[in-house]
């Protein structure tokens, strides 16, 4: 079972890192290896749910010229490291899955198709409808929490490559910067 620590070790210099980095250039379907999600049984999410999540993250923090969005700061791989950590609370893990199911249900109910195929306007409509549901507000807030972590925590954790989030917001990181992840202290 891969825990968060092992994931970061692998992703910091391995094959997965380069796969994820390429997400910023291509659509999810172009780079998504179906076996990638199947191997992540610990996440509890299906391949399709990962794809929905990818779409949600990019809607919540879209890429703009010179202004990084979710895919530019590796939010999907960052979140993968969170949810596959054996220490991650099972209730929280279930909540991620339940939220994706609810959102997809809203999408099909309102727009008769999967969230993945929606236009930006329709995605906004679906997410705003979801926000009004009891699980919607905390689910979206939780996702934004991890998106902003990937945007602005130290690149050591797999997000914020080369400090692009910091540079965009003219933020000066403190020093010394970490050379070990917190769970290795």
């Amino acid at each position: 079972m891969m825990n968060r620590r092992q994931f970061f070790i692998k992703s910091s210099g391995g094959v997965i890192a380069s796969t994820i980095a390429s997400l910023s250039m291509k659509s999810f379907s172009a780079v998504f290896d179906k076996t990638w999600a199947d191997k992540l049984v610990d996440s509890g999410l299906s391949s399709k749910q990962w794809e929905i999540l990818f779409a949600v993250q990019n809607h919540l923090l879209p890429s703009e010229p010179g202004k990084p969005g979710a895919q530019d700061v590796n939010t999907l791989s960052y979140f993968r490291s969170i949810i596959t950590d054996p220490d991650y609370d099972q209730g929280d893990r279930n909540f991620v899955k339940t939220g994706l199911i609810e959102l997809e249900g809203i999408s099909i109910k309102l727009m008769k198709t999967t969230f993945i195929d929606l236009s930006a306007t329709q995605r906004e409509q679906a997410l705003r409808a979801f926000e009004k549901e009891p699980n919607g507000y905390p689910w979206i807030t939780t996702q934004l929490n991890y998106i902003l972590e990937a945007l602005l925590t130290d690149p050591l954790y797999g997000g914020n490559p080369n400090g692009i989030g910091w540079k965009w917001l003219e933020h000066t990181p403190g020093f010394p910067r970490p050379n070990k992840q917190y769970f290795d202290l």
């Binding site: 809607h59 919540l60 923090l61 879209p62 703009e64 202004k67 609370d89 906004e124 997410l127 705003r128 926000e131 507000y137 979206i140 807030t141 934004l144 929490n145 902003l148 972590e149 945007l151 602005l152 925590t153 130290d154 050591l156 954790y157 989030g165 910091w166 965009w168 917001l169 003219e170 933020h171 000066t172 990181p173 403190g174 020093f175 010394p176 910067r177 970490p178 050379n179 070990k180 917190y182 769970f183 202290l185």
Partner: protein, 573 residues
């Protein structure tokens, strides 16, 4: 009787450090038991995920929660496990305790803080009491902390400057941000006194420690240079260097055992391997921070202490104190300044170092007919923590903000101005429904009952906090800040804890005598903030350090002063 050690100290923070330092330097053998690991400067990097977003230096709440009991709008008391609530009262379970993570705003209490009841009279619903000692007895120890722990600052004249035995601080103030000059100017225009905030941070190399490196993340982060005066770096390292002090990290004390006479016989703790170990000493000092100190005593009943050690009066855990006050903020827009001034305001890493104590006593008929105790207003940078700051931007008036609107908010927040915060401190009134007990249901990872913290607060906290925060906001407005607001809150401070084992002269209403020795356990002293009947209108750490040095001298006296002095007396008569 042979003892393993002369003194056993449980807890290594600001309450434990001065005891270990003083006794070890005097030649006595000291054991310090600390529940957490022993980290050093190299682990204290500026990692927001580690410090502010994960429980890296505090326990996993699934394994070690607290239970908080709060009253709802219908006045029913409800319990909540802090694992579920997401907030807790752990502040640093490592060698040096929470002093590793303090901001280091060091204000002394003032003479009237020691006699709140007799100066300002009783307050209905509050259990206010005078301290059994006066400021003059504490002053030499405040002075000692300045020199030994290292406090930087500059004494200036102002209406509530407390008496001092040293003319000025031993170390000059840390480098100051250009915004400090704007505060000075605004306060001057308002006819009030902006005073340099003393800080437990070295402004130059001293005491075998480097100076501050001005990395801008100071706040609640561990110090990467050793300039911040944590108990670990300022006192315990020196205590260990004497060869007389042993620190055992990852040692969780599970019970303090007492004998048939009611005195402590030994301490039982679990080491890293979960092996139960007994250790004994001539004198025991407990300093686990207020909540855990009361919990440990309550977890340690004995033949003479059926309700918990030192609790025959039923006072252990009572009169718990948090910090009361208010807060606020404003933004100084760079666009209001010329290019050079704006560039200066972008400066990163230096300190604001400004406080106002003009309203330490409030003589304002519009506020109250008679003079009332007020407090301290500190001005600080908004901490640079980028994730924490960005998360605040997702809150919108009509739902969550995301997408391009969120990105515009982030850009504005991070790039258009300098945020300045107000932190106002006033007395947290001791009230009957604010106390620590053992939860009957929830157990920690070792099967021990966790602390149940019942939290209530007096309306006076809000009145004074509101008044002070509004005064701070006036300063920000005078500076030309935009979006200025101030507020008060009844939410307890999670990092400023005191009370629970009040000191006093009456064993019926206090746990400790004026020397912080338990009334009914001669070989027990308590030296964290638990002893405080009231906490003053300042952060507590300087007073905890000073009092612990004071108690260390009492223990030293009891043991016969320094061992080297004893030898000289014996040899030369």
């Amino acid at each position: 009787m042979n003892y393993d050690f002369d003194v056993c100290v449980i807890g290594s923070g600001a309450g434990g450090g001065p005891i270990a330092y003083t006794l070890a330097n005097a030649g006595y053998s000291v054991l310090v038991l600390e529940k957490g690991p022993w980290h050093t400067e190299k682990e204290f990097t500026k990692d927001e995920l580690a410090l502010s977003l994960r429980s890296t230096f505090t326990p996993d709440l699934r394994k070690q929660p607290h239970v908080v009991e709060l009253q709802d709008d219908d006045e029913n008391w409800n319990k909540q496990n802090t694992y579920k609530s997401g907030w807790d009262f752990w502040n640093g379970n490592v060698v040096g305790g929470s002093s590793n993570f303090m901001s280091g705003f060091f204000h002394r209490m003032k003479p009237n803080d020691f006699k709140l009841l007799s100066t300002y009279g009783p307050i209905e619903g509050a259990n206010v009491a005078d301290w059994p000692i006066e400021y003059s007895e504490m002053e030499p120890y405040y002075d000692k902390v300045e020199k030994v722990v290292g406090v930087s600052g500059r004494v200036v004249k102002h209406p509530h400057q407390e008496p001092r035995s040293s003319l000025d601080f031993p170390y000059p103030p840390t480098q100051e941000h250009p915004v400090s000059g704007l505060i000075d100017k605004a306060c001057g225009a308002l006819g009030i006194h902006a005073i340099p905030t003393p800080r437990a941070v070295l402004s130059r190399p001293a005491l075998d420690r480097p100076s501050c490196s001005y990395n801008g993340y100071c706040g609640n982060y561990g110090c990467a240079t050793g300039a911040k005066g944590s108990s670990r770096v300022a006192l315990l390292n020196q205590a260990v260097a004497t060869g007389n002090c042993e620190i055992r990290p990852e040692s969780m004390v599970v019970k303090i055992e007492s004998d048939k006479n009611g005195q402590i016989s030994h301490v039982r703790y679990l080491n890293k391997e979960n092996k139960l170990i007994n250790v004994n000493a001539r004198i025991y000092v407990v300093a686990c921070q207020a909540i855990e100190t009361s919990r440990l005593l309550l977890m340690s009943p004995g033949e003479k202490h059926p309700n918990g050690l030192a609790n025959n009066s039923g006072q252990v855990g009572k009169n718990l104190l948090f910090s009361a006050g208010g807060a606020g903020s404003g933004r100084i827009l760079y666009s209001k300044f010329d290019e050079i001034q704006a560039k200066n305001l972008h400066e990163f890493g230096t300190f604001v170092n400004r406080a106002v104590q003009d309203w330490y006593q409030i003589d304002d008929k519009e506020f109250f007919d008679t003079p009332q105790k007020g407090g301290t207003i500190d001005f600080v940078h908004l901490h640079p923590n980028p994730v924490v700051r960005s998360l605040r931007q997702i809150r919108g008036s009509e739902g969550i903000t995301w997408g391009a609107p969120l990105k515009r908010k982030l850009e504005s927040h991070f790039t258009e101005g300098k945020f300045l915060k107000i932190e106002a401190f006033c007395d947290f009134m001791p009230v009957p429904n604010c106390h620590v007990s053992l939860d009957p249901d929830v157990k920690d990872q070792w099967g021990l009952p966790v602390a149940k913290i019942k939290i209530d607060m007096h309306v006076r906290n809000l009145q004074v906090g509101w008044y002070l925060a509004a005064k701070g906001a006036d300063v920000l407005r005078k500076m030309g800040a935009e979006n200025v607001f101030s507020f008060t809150s009844g939410a307890p401070s999670i990092n400023l804890l005191a009370g629970g084992c009040r000191f006093g002269t009456d064993p019926e209403t206090s746990v400790l005598n004026p020397d912080c020795q338990a009334h009914d356990v001669e070989n027990l002293y308590i030296t964290d903030g638990s002893f405080m009947p009231t906490g003053g209108s300042v952060p507590y750490t300087w007073t905890i350090y000073a009092n612990s040095f004071r108690v260390a001298d009492k223990i030293l006296e009891r043991l016969g002063r320094s061992k080297s002095e004893s030898i000289i007396r014996n040899v030369f008569g």
